[in-house]
Symmetry: D2
Subunit: 365 residues, 4 copies
């Protein structure tokens, strides 16, 4: 199978998530990065493109969308790895050009931007993907399968956490600065990691929170965005849930976890032991599931040979490659526009609730 | 040192917490159980007393308080291990008789009962102790010392959990029945285990939540008390916190945990690894503290020889023995009337908030 | 039931294991310590006895055995908690006096002493018990039951470890000094903790090593006993095994562990997570067994309320009380003379093998 | 930087380690797989090459070595991922052709084959690399740095384990068959995973075992190679050590671990928590080191975003790329001929010792 030609917007040298997308696209050899508008600074864009050995470097994403769409060998898909406020414009441009979009999360910085993407995605023949990578990890996929087949019975309690400590002090550095700037990020911890927790809980349980009550905090004095968010959830189906995300939880590197309790059994998963899923039946001993029990075919090595973050990310790219190549099977497990809009609704509802001192508000469906 | 003569109210055969109190009182040989009103059923009381080899069995706590107070060799202290609604009457009787009271938590089933105890305790020459046993475990005491000496810097986030699964189905059996009966228990999970979480967080941080927002649920259909409680906290000093307690979290045997994040470091403790305290500085590797680092002199064996629940409980009894024998040093770490009233205020505030759909309410000081 | 009158030899103030035995005897209220020859120094013996509130203090164990045997209310059992070389003489004296002996491990410091005990035990109407306490912990008893009922299939591999670090430097202090003195201890790590590992492996597997090859080391320069022992085992039934014990493994507080691999499943247990047993079937996920799965009725609290070292020790005392009171049911799980002699044979074989540069030698049956 | 053209011998469709090498070579984009002799079956070789999109497919490695050496754009390096007995011939051919060799471990199936490789490697201008991948994982590299800088003091005890359960039954399937065939594998568990443990211990400690005593077992009846090996080690510098490897340890997926105890501190690492290194000082609490403490620059993501097996493998490829591109800095941490010969000496010594019933034998230097 010939690799799919891929482009990238953002991700110039020094970027974190751009490098991750590149590795994810490369691991299985199904994509080939050939074009980029890697930086809004043309000189830096060119230097980064040379460093990465890209065939074609563009000064702007507009130019790139137009040119690539016109080429016989143009890119079939583009990864958008810019700060949140810079997702919408390139997403719209590429979708209009008929080029599949692989966009980093959250969907956008504002509801207006999100709406633009939604409109473009709905009217394009190209597809829109959102890289909620944790939901592509093997044991998360197995967790979802277990819930779906009723292994937990009726879901009653859902707790998702995502704790980091790297923003415990006033921000400095490229990664921190835009993430704590309301104009570029839209929200703070809520958008950056809260949407991951939100998506993960829904992905695994297959259920939708209908109402929430949020306590957003800016723990670091003077920070213009939330850096800690504690959110209570009422699911449409009656389950109760919670999300706690923080970027001021010192000592936490990247503490993602999910706990689901049903009438018959419970599931627990933690990123720092990501190859393991603890299934605790109401009666009888807990079971330590590993990839030996995963039925999603989402790994490259035998159980016991640890895979992790990059492999999870690569699972999304592998599924996207399959979809682009015509296999729509993975569509039900690759996050897309709906996940993105749901995340935006979550952010908006949490901000509204917190502004009303924690009043319960509806999450827009 | 001669053992202190001890009495017990409640705790007849088949009781759970009565047996725990007896072991805790016995481990260090500082108490001798000599008298009891072990059951409200006189025949059962006598049979239980004989089984336990008690010197004196009484048909009622009133009779016992009067008789023991009159004896030269009467009991110096009494353990009250009845259901919550039966704490106040015996506590008042023994306090009035000048006999120290060691009462199981929570303080009472109602505010009125709590007030009776408070009045009696304040006007008695005898002391009132409340067995929030988890706060007497060695690594919790060390955690408190670390916070107090500033190892964490300023406390920012406090998360306490207490998850059980044993009430996931409609209650049956002695232990379950009174705990899910509003008249006898006062509250559900909130009182039974929520007060533990509440006390633990305050004990370790030395800080007081001023306001809370609660979501109480009766997950099991038809249950007349809460069996799951999710509570957001605003501490007086500015910290944010949360408490999550549940008795329908299937697969959880007794999942007590506490996480505290400060400006400089964080602490994490879990009952299922109770001999370990994880201290995570903002910079540098986390440290696994064990009893080798505990400075509270709260253990009987060298580090690495696991102690647990009963030993923690016994630490309270050891401190109470010291206090009765005239050493007031441990008074600052043994929970008493204040902890009990604080727990009642917590229950009341949580119920009020939940009744108002999670509105933030003040916790009575 | 009236408590059984108990005596103690050794265990004066400052002793470690004497205090442990006293707590173990006291936890369930089935023994009452009334007499002691707590120290070979009469003044210290008396002071310790007063401190402990003993009814009768003796200057020597001979005197104690004679006097107690003559009393109507004399002790029914005696705990011997002296250094190894001082086990035999009191054991023989009390056995001859018809008083049950509860002896700390290992059996003795020399084969000659062990033979004296054996002879006395065999000709006495009293019983001899040896406190290999780890084998009385609930999950170890459950492990044994699982192996016995065939849950592991045929046992193939058995690995036992006991690692400590407290003797990593030249010894100082009471506990260290006698343990590194060949005359008083007989062997070093091999006797002090190696016999625990040896007994634990046999207790759980129900199988006997027939031959061994040992590499004993005195890692600390100049130490006259072994402080590290690495032993390969060939079981009579064909299984292969290993024992590694060390007292110079810095950072290890008390690292006891056991792993057993069979044809159908494996078991893993570690003292630092002693309430958990990992059962790994050949196919399918591992299971985390807790006391909820233990069928030995060896605990005092519900699963999830951690018990540990002292409770395990107390399980032995509880079984001994039952046996003394006429219930011989627990005899098959309380270590006695056979376990003691097996431990001595293990020490002798390991020393012989190491002296012959690791040659395989037979372990005397 | 243009990718380095890479070839592969072995690794046709269905192969395990060939696929791993391909991902490892691809992750960082520094290699491009262009040529292969992927199978000894020409039709299968071609089909596999087409499937992988290789530019050039060869029917034999000889032909490939000759042809590629002759091309201007020929491969600069070749990955040899055949069974052990098929390492030597292609390695010699490519080394003679001046093409760098990246060979899977162990070095060879026989001493004669190993000698051929050694001779060819020593007389070639091309380099020889051996993929002992575990030693390239970040926390292992940090462990090595800690030992080298004296953080552990003098090394006293070294324990390495590698436990698998997948060969607990008579072998079936491609992977199992050649690994249990003496002609193709040379040794059983000893060569397949024992050499990993052997290399890992030396890599981290920087020390060389001088003598060993081995107990090799064929636990599965009728198996013509060892499937369990228990080996005691005496290091040249005085440390004692052990290696235990097994392929019949049911329930173990890939249990690699290393423990090193020194005079001042100890290190513990386990593959199933590979991003963590436990550093236990003689005094004071253990420290949980993560990649935040790793100084080897061996990772692609921030600490807390789990990396694992493939990334470790890729670290070797990244270092090899750097070396090929002229940076000899990584040479001291990439295993090569010496590691391979050391592994062969280990196998030979263990087999000799076991044949002499565990006699201590010298490991050829």
């Amino acid at each position: 199978m010939k690799p799919i030609p891929l482009g990238m917007v953002g991700g110039g040298s020094g970027a974190f998530i751009g490098a991750v997308h590149r590795i994810a696209a490369r691991i299985d050899g199904q994509f080939r990065l050939v074009a980029g508008a890697l930086s809004s600074d043309p000189a830096r864009a060119d230097a980064s493109a040379r460093e990465l050995g890209l065939a074609r470097s563009y000064a702007s994403f507009d130019e790139m969308a137009e040119a690539e769409a016109a080429r016989q060998d143009g890119i079939a898909a583009v990864a958008i790895v810019t700060p949140n406020h810079m997702h919408a414009a390139p997403a719209v441009a590429f979708l209009k050009a008929g080029i599949h979009v692989i966009c980093d999360k959250p969907l956008a910085a504002t509801a207006a931007q999100a709406a633009e993407i939604a409109e473009a995605a709905r009217s394009s023949r190209a597809r829109f993907f959102l890289t909620h990578n944790y939901s592509a990890m093997p044991m998360i996929r197995e967790a979802r399968a277990l819930v779906a087949e009723g292994a937990l019975g009726e879901v009653r309690l859902v707790q998702a956490e995502y704790l980091q400590g790297w923003l415990a002090d006033p921000a400095s550095g490229k990664q921190a600065e835009w993430r704590t700037d309301p104009a570029r990020a839209g929200a703070g911890a809520l958008g950056d990691i809260g949407t991951h927790a939100w998506q993960l809980a829904q992905f695994v349980t297959g259920q939708t929170p209908a109402h929430l009550s949020a306590e957003l905090s800016s723990v670091v004095p003077g920070r213009p965005v939330d850096d800690d968010a504690r959110i209570a959830l009422r699911y449409a189906g009656g389950a109760k849930g919670g999300i706690w995300v923080s970027q001021v939880a010192v000592g936490q590197e990247n503490g993602v976890s999910l706990r689901v309790f049903g009438t018959r059994a419970a599931l627990e998963w933690r990123l720092d032991a990501s190859e393991r899923l603890i299934l605790s039946p109401k009666d009888g001993p807990a079971r330590l599931l590993t990839r030996a029990q995963d039925r999603s075919a989402s790994s490259r090595t035998p159980p016991g040979h640890p895979e992790g973050y990059l492999e999870g990310f690569a699972n999304l790219y592998a599924d996207i490659a399959a979809i682009i190549n015509g296999d729509v099977g993975p569509l039900d497990r690759v996050p897309g526009l709906d996940a993105g809009l749901s995340g935006m609704a979550f952010i908006a509802a949490a901000q509204a609730s917190s502004a009303r001192d924690g009043a319960w508000v509806e999450v827009a469906p």
